[in-house]
């Protein structure tokens, strides 16, 4: 389970997150939607301490930390329970696909090279890249790079995987297959928080949808509740803007 309580974050004088609280159940898939600039990326980055929140509390499994005054040790512990899938893939440029997946297994989890290699190869095979293991990121297509990014996250067997718009840098024809793969990850029962603009995916995979706007959670609920019966006026306007009338479907 992952729980965020009253998280606040400012950049300079701009308060970007104004007290965000969310809760994600074990094995659940939470999709965060919202207009550009509403703070979705910042929220994910605060969870993984890629950005330091100003205040708030974070519970991840058996660890609870005060985000304002937590120490290096806590940060490392949280990061080791989270994995992050980046919009721009974030692969290590000096390492092959296989080495990218192995890196955390050997350096962080202290697994032997043989074991790490076995797990990495299995996971790359699982994402459909068994023939690209020795390629450097520069020699992989965007879709393939994101598969490596997903494999790297999954191989770490984290408590939660954070996805920040994992398909928005991809060519349109690659979006579908990448979403299919993320669905496959969800089916493994891994807890996930996914920021995306792919509403059909949200409807299909999420068991919780969170709508954020201007640094606050405006509405949270099941896909049915949020998409089909939004309570808040801002949610309604947002959905009306991004989902053409005739494609809204009901579960």
């Amino acid at each position: 389970m992952i729980k965020i309580d009253d998280l606040k974050k400012s950049f300079g004088r701009n308060q970007i997150l104004k007290g965000v609280s969310i809760e994600v159940e074990q094995g659940g898939v939470t999709v965060i939607i919202g207009p550009s600039g509403s703070g979705k990326t910042t929220l994910l980055r605060c969870i993984d301490f890629l950005e330091r929140a100003d205040s708030g509390r974070l519970t991840l499994g058996d660890i609870t930390v005060d985000l304002e005054k937590c120490h290096k040790k806590d940060i490392l512990a949280i990061r080791r329970k989270c994995a992050f899938v980046f919009q721009n893939y974030g692969l290590f440029q000096n390492k092959t696909a296989l080495e990218n997946v192995m890196e955390g297994l050997t350096v962080v989890q202290k697994k032997s090279r043989e074991e790490a290699r076995r797990i990495a190869a299995e996971t790359l095979d699982w994402v459909g890249l068994s023939d690209r293991m020795d390629y450097y990121p520069v020699n992989l297509s965007g879709g393939q790079q994101q598969r490596v990014g997903i494999a790297r996250a999954v191989a770490l067997s984290p408590d939660v995987i954070l996805f920040d718009e994992p398909t928005s840098a991809l060519d349109p024809e690659l979006v579908g297959e990448t979403l299919e793969l993320i669905k496959k990850v969800a089916n493994r029962g891994i807890t996930m928080i996914v920021v995306t603009h792919e509403m059909a995916f949200a409807q299909d995979v999420a068991n919780q949808v969170i709508f954020m706007d201007e640094g606050v959670v405006v509405e949270a609920g099941t896909p049915g509740e949020v998409f089909s019966h939004p309570k808040n006026e801002r949610t309604k306007q947002f959905l009306a803007r991004i989902i053409p009338e005739d494609t809204i479907y009901y579960i």
């Binding site: 990061r79 994995a83 350096v107």
Partner: protein, 234 residues
């Protein structure tokens, strides 16, 4: 004058000149080590968030860039010891080689600092985030992800800096140190200026061959450390 260019003299003169080669190598190696250490210190200052420290590093680099090496040698060899003596430090026992090493270290350190600073910044900041996200410590991120990439960027610059350092050792003769060129001056004096052309051509060839070898080594090292940067041609 009966003075014509005699190719047959060159090998013998080159052999004599090469007796000073170990001295030149010593000057290069020590200057390289110290310039990397001093450069690392200034690069760290330049990359620290502190404005004052940044200014110190910038000032040092700017000062050394504008300072002719020969002028610096004279200042450090003839002027500074006078003041050090007043401060109670006697430099009489310091060898000429030592002054050359100090000078070259200080001047090359500026180039090394710039090299380290720019190569470090050339690595995309997302590489840090990616590595932090898999749970690595800052030290591991630097050691395994950032440094190898920065090093690949730095290699050609490092190669240039070493070549420049090597060629700058030829200024050592100016205070009477016996590096390659100092040796040439010595031989030339003993021959009363005879075969000067052969002598200079010979030493030029030695410098040139070493520079070519250094460049070749640089290219090889660059290839090895930038494997992830260029598209493969398998």
């Amino acid at each position: 004058m009966g003075n014509y260019f005699d190719f047959s003299k060159i090998p013998g003169l080159m052999a004599s000149t090469m007796q000073a080669f170990p001295t030149t190598v010593k000057l290069v190696v020590w200057s390289l080590i110290f310039s990397l250490l001093i450069g690392l210190a200034f690069a760290s200052l330049a990359l620290s968030g502190n404005k004052v420290l940044n200014a110190v590093a910038k000032g040092y680099v700017a000062f050394m860039r504008g300072m002719p090496t020969l002028v610096l040698i004279f200042i450090l060899y003839f002027v500074v010891p006078v003041y050090l003596k007043k401060a109670g430090i006697n430099t009489d026992s310091w060898s000429k080689d030592m002054f050359i090493i100090i000078t070259l270290s200080l001047s090359s350190a500026a180039n090394m600092a710039e090299m380290m600073r720019s190569s470090y910044l050339a690595v995309n900041r997302y590489q840090w985030e990616a590595a932090y996200s898999v749970g690595m410590t800052g030290f591991d991120v630097f050691r395994r992800i950032i440094f190898p990439q920065a090093f690949g960027v730095a290699i050609p610059i490092l190669g240039n800096n070493i070549v420049a350092l090597f060629k700058a050792t030829s200024l050592a003769f100016s205070i009477g140190a016996l590096d390659l060129f100092g040796k040439v001056k010595l031989i030339s004096g003993r021959l009363y200026g005879l075969n000067r052309a052969e002598l200079y051509l010979g030493v030029a060839v030695i410098y040139w061959v070493v520079c070519v070898l250094l460049e070749w080594a640089t290219k090889r090292a660059e290839k090895r450390y930038t494997r992830g940067r260029k598209a493969l041609t398998v």
